[in-house]
């Protein structure tokens, strides 16, 4: 048994290229996505159709341009150009001032400014309209010193757990979850499928080693590798991304250990149903990649999905782990807050192990 684990370790570490990939990829990905991915808007190009060209229209344009969200791309001269400028795809919003804008605003206190957004990306369009309206409302309030609104109820927003509204707080836990699941699942499923494809599995099976020992021997090295990977990513998220480290660390490590174990069990299960490395890869990558990203709450909030998808998301282990990791790291939760999620991952682990053992035995007969 010990010799078998040593053999596995040797086989993995001998292949320098794979080793570099195993450690290099997750680190590179966390760094890349931690810095590059954000759902917030920055530097969105907008165009202006200014039929007024007067004091207030100019001031409003300057104010919008000065915000971090927007960059003034160009002025349009007629409404026919709106369609053309949207089709080019760079300008995402057009603001139209009606003629005599300033006069109508100061004399009649009733001026119109139309916002047209390219809603082919609905999320961006929605945010753009909200941001523009907020800028204009703000401009208007500063305009009148004796604004009656100042005497009314004033919302005082407070953002909990992430006061600076950083996107990394959402993306880093998500990336950790996706990478751990995919790497662990792929590594085990492929390495077992490889022994089958190259015919070395037969040799192992006729040896006195028990099937369960073969599996355990296969899993232990990868478990260690994944765990080291997690520690590196965790240190990176503290040092590079300033994630709060106030949470319960032993609990986080224990939960991660369980999650990695679950991923490896899933990998073993995949390898028992696939006969070649290619099949194992397509199953563990193609079948898992997008569902893990989309149905786990990594990017898209689950509660807004249709009911059927909410049900499907319940069977995604990644969904539960993201909740756990966010709760512990960002909200300072303890085991009492996440016991339910933990129990589900535990049940999934047992399920995959049970299924694999059953499948593995069938193969032997």
């Amino acid at each position: 048994m010990k010799e078998f684990i040593i053999k596995e370790f040797k086989q993995i570490f001998r292949d320098y290229r794979t080793m570099t990939i195993l450690f290099g990829i997750p680190i590179a990905q966390v760094l890349l996505f931690g810095f590059a991915l954000t759902l917030d808007l920055k530097n969105v190009h907008f165009a202006v159709l200014d039929k007024a060209k007067d004091e207030h229209s100019r001031k409003i344009i300057d104010k919008i341009d000065a915000s971090d969200y927007f960059i003034l791309d160009r002025y349009l001269s007629s409404s026919d150009e709106i369609e053309a400028v949207f089709k080019e795809g760079i300008v995402k919003e057009v603001i139209v001032f009606e003629p005599d804008f300033s006069q109508k605003l100061t004399k009649e206190n009733n001026a119109q400014l139309q916002i047209i957004a390219d809603a082919s990306d609905p999320n961006v369009a929605n945010m753009l309209v909200n941001y523009s309206q907020a800028i204009i409302t703000n401009y208007q309030q500063n305009l009148f010193a004796d604004n009656p609104m100042a005497q009314m109820a004033a919302p005082e927003p407070m953002f909990k757990y992430n006061p600076a509204l950083k996107s990394v707080y959402m993306f880093v836990p998500g990336i950790i979850t996706v990478i751990l699941l995919l790497v662990s699942t792929m590594m085990t499923s492929i390495s077992i499928a490889r022994e089958k494809e190259l015919g070395t599995m037969e040799i192992l099976l006729v040896s006195p080693i028990k099937p369960i020992q073969i599996i355990v021997g296969k899993v232990i090295p990868y478990m260690l590798l994944s765990f080291i990977n997690f520690i590196i990513i965790l240190i990176l998220s503290f040092l590079v991304f300033d994630m709060p480290s106030s949470g319960n660390m032993p609990l986080l490590l224990a939960e991660t250990f369980l999650y990695i174990f679950m991923s490896l069990a899933l990998g073993i299960f995949i390898s028992t149903v696939s006969s070649s490395q290619q099949t194992a890869m397509m199953l563990s990558m193609f079948a898992l990649l997008l569902p893990t990203i989309l149905l786990s709450g990594f990017i898209f909030p689950i509660k807004n999905m249709p009911d059927i998808l909410m049900w499907i998301s319940h069977i995604m282990p990644s969904k539960w782990f993201i909740i756990i990791i966010k709760s512990i790291m960002l909200k300072g939760a303890g085991l009492m807050d996440v016991w339910f999620e933990t129990l589900i991952i535990l049940a999934q682990t047992l399920f995959f192990i049970g299924l694999s053992i059953k499948k593995f035995k069938i193969r032997l007969t």
């Binding site: 195993l22 954000t38 917030d40 082919s120 945010m127 004033a154 099949t279 990558m285």
Partner: protein
């Protein structure tokens, strides 16, 4: 020509012989497209709201009623104990808490501008920002109503009104935006993974030697290896487009001919990338990890999920080498907005250059003698 035909025949036989692969290639993408397109939505509705109304006055009740009447908010908890609601937020049951302090109505009457605390779970920063906007908008609306009642003189003028229009997708239907993108991803993954593991598999099993001793020329070999996957990927793409049309009601506004012309070049680029990976690796495991590495980076940076404009400059530079970015941009522009070749020529040029260079690279890297 005959030689190429034989290689293609061999490849097809090999692919179709593996009974596990057929559903993976043809059924899985369809199921994923159908299911995942519904999952990809940023829409914010039914925000779980907790309310603490310490004032218990007519005004505060009216404000709470305004929240419960809004389609964006669901009042899930009403209490006087902040600690209790905060605990619920920690567990993830509440997303937002509104705190109305005692004396709200009095201060409002006296024109002292009472503060209303809106606490938002901000782990998802951009969603929190929007939720906070929505809550503020409701409070503003509440203010306006009161103004109209108490000081109708002041409230007659509306100031600046800002009507808005959403073009190309008036209902803000996320599926229209996501379906073309997810379809591109699925087709890309099938093409790149299948071709990426193909030559290296022959290397690993030793069958490449047998091919190397035959009089097959380099380019014949590459073409013979590419064609089957090209056909499979193209078939999946057409299938996906039909689904988009019949299930999601997405009509291609632009030129259908242009879509398929560019798609066929794009697939060459993707398959070329797979073949290139295949030639520089020795085992399927290596090939797979490298393919996975690039695929995940390309997917996440492609602008499918997060806006490209918001990425830092260096990430946008990486995107210059990302074929998926070009093609997703192209597909969305053409399918949703009906842009013409003149609007998207940059994307088309990018795909073209990519295809040519990666195929040249793959052909030169493949050596018949080791």
């Amino acid at each position: 020509m005959r030689t190429i035909k034989f290689i293609i025949e061999k490849e097809f036989k090999q692919i179709f012989r593996n009974k596990m692969m057929l559903p993976i290639i043809f059924v899985m993408p369809i199921i994923q497209l159908l299911i995942l397109s519904y999952a990809a939505t940023f829409e914010i509705k039914n925000v779980s709201l907790g309310v603490i109304d310490m004032d218990q006055s007519n005004s505060s009740r009216e404000l709470v009623h305004k929240f419960s009447a809004s389609p964006f908010f669901n009042i899930e908890a009403q209490d006087f104990d902040m600690k209790k609601l905060e605990l619920q937020m920690k567990r993830g049951d509440l997303e937002q808490i509104i705190y109305i302090n005692t004396g709200f109505e009095e201060q409002l009457r006296a024109g002292e501008g009472p503060q209303l605390q809106i606490i938002t779970d901000a782990i998802n920063g951009s969603a929190a920002n929007l939720m906070s906007y929505y809550a503020s908008a409701i409070i503003m609306d509440f203010n306006k109503n009161i103004l109209l009642q108490t000081q109708p003189m002041l409230a007659t003028g509306l100031g600046i009104s800002t009507p808005y229009q959403f073009w190309y997708n008036a209902e803000l239907d996320y599926k229209k935006y996501m379906v073309p993108g997810i379809l591109v991803l699925l087709v890309t993954m099938i093409g790149a993974f299948l071709s990426g593991m193909n030559i290296v598999r022959e290397k690993e099993l030793g069958t490449i030697e047998q091919l190397n001793v035959t009089p097959i020329k380099k380019h014949q070999f590459i073409i013979g290896k590419l064609m089957p996957f090209w056909i499979i990927a193209m078939f999946d793409l057409v299938l996906g487009m039909l689904l988009a049309y019949f299930v999601f009601d997405i009509q291609i506004v632009g030129s259908v001919g242009l879509v398929f012309a560019v798609a066929s070049i794009y697939l060459l680029a993707v398959l070329g990338l797979g073949l290139f990976i295949s030639t520089i690796t020795n085992t399927q495991q290596q090939a797979m990890f490298i393919a996975w590495f690039f695929m995940v980076i390309f997917i996440m940076l492609s602008g499918l999920f997060t806006p490209i404009e918001s990425m830092p400059d260096w990430a946008q530079l990486i995107n210059v080498f990302n074929p998926i970015t070009y093609f997703i941009g192209f597909m969305r522009q053409l399918m949703l907005k009906g842009s013409g070749l003149m609007d998207v020529w940059r994307d088309v040029l990018g795909i073209g250059i990519y295809a040519v260079s990666i195929l040249l690279l793959a052909t030169t890297r493949y050596r018949k003698t080791s």
